[in-house]
């Protein structure tokens, strides 16, 4: 409660960004406190558990602070920061790409999710469901469904084919549907 009140009063302006660039610890902490909860939400979506989400958050912020002077102010700072976190998650996906084994087969998937179930579902439950997905499914699902990237963009970002992106999304949805059925 205290945190959310503080957020209303804090405005991230150019002075704070300049302070962060000059290495001002107070400014850096202020920036972190302001954006950490939102960015942690993103990290949780792209990670399989809380601990790996914390690692992702740390990596993302370190990267952001090291490249803060490259922010030109063309768009919103939050958008810029969000892209850094998504890119960090994609890097992590690429690192683990060789390790993960996706259960790929020729099974036909029904991509339609039951909307009534979805409406009743709390965001935390949905998050847990997403976290249960294999990393490849989870990444494509996040990029397509939540960030709004096209399959073509996802294919470029993840160095996969457009068809793979589509099939991974369909499988991710099917996976979620099955999990939601279990929950209900």
């Amino acid at each position: 409660m205290m945190t959310s009140n503080l957020k209303v009063d804090v405005v991230i302006d150019d002075n704070i960004l300049a302070g962060c660039i000059e290495g001002n610890r107070a400014a850096q902490e202020l920036l972190y406190n302001f954006f950490a909860p939102k960015m942690f939400g993103i990290c949780l979506r792209y990670s399989y558990d809380y601990h790996s989400a914390e690692d992702l958050l740390q990596d993302g912020f370190v990267k952001a602070f090291h490249n803060l002077d490259r922010f030109r102010g063309d768009g919103s700072f939050e958008g810029w920061l969000k892209r850094i976190f998504i890119n960090t998650a994609i890097e992590q996906y690429r690192k683990n790409q060789n390790k993960q084994v996706n259960p790929l087969n020729d099974e036909v998937y029904n991509a339609t999710t039951q909307d009534d179930v979805l409406d009743k579902l709390a965001v935390d439950d949905l998050l847990k469901t997403i976290q249960l997905l294999p990393q490849g499914y989870r990444t494509v699902f996040n990029l397509y469904v939540i960030e709004g990237y096209s399959h073509k963009e996802i294919a470029t970002l993840l160095s996969i084919s457009e068809g793979t992106s589509k099939s991974q999304l369909a499988r991710a949805k099917n996976y979620i549907q099955k999990l939601l059925k279990k929950i209900n």
Binding site: T3, Y32, G41, E54, Q58, V62, L126, L127, V145, G148
Partner: protein, 237 residues
Amino acid sequence: MMEKNNLPEDLFKDALSDLEVNPSEKNWADISEQLNIETNKKIQHKFEHFESQPKPEVWEGIKQQLPYNLRIRRQLNWIAKVAAVLLVGMLFSMGSNMFRLNQQQKAAHIVIPTPVPSEVVKMVVPAPIAEEGNDFVFDVKEKKEAASVLMKEEEDISNLLDFILDDSDGIAAAIDEAVIEESLVSADELAGGIALVVPEDDIEEVMIEVDLTIKIPLVVVEENEIESLIDMYDANN
């Protein structure tokens, strides 16, 4: 009249009441996509304002990896890159100079052979050591010969040197005369040199072999000059 009016309607009714037409697959794909978009929007909306407060330890971890001043760091990086480029350039320049110097040194080294001796007696004459500021290094390896032959050889060498030093291109000015003089003294007069004792009667029988090596530094004589000097010497003798 009524029956007549109803007739066309009945015809249509009879014909179309049980009409079934299978829609194309594209129709269902479009509907399905629309449903998917709506589902996606619902999920998107659920996560739109989703936030979660991380543990304080995360900030501690980030703090340890934070840069102090990005501007200074960028400038230092830039300076380091420039320094690296300069260093590479310098090393390349030094390397190419050394290579060129080595090539020239090889070209400037000449050996003048002496006549083949008929009889060889092992004896070594220590070479005069080049002194500081001396542009002319003069190595003489002498074996054994009769005193008269020795004198003749020395005279030949002296003539050769005179011939070389007589050149008007300024070589003579660069030569330390004292060292040349010292080099040209009789072998038995050299300090620590040969202890050649030849009975006067045997003088004709004792032969000597002299290997003369003249090293001319690069700064004084160029390759083409050396060759022309040798040619001129050969032509004169």
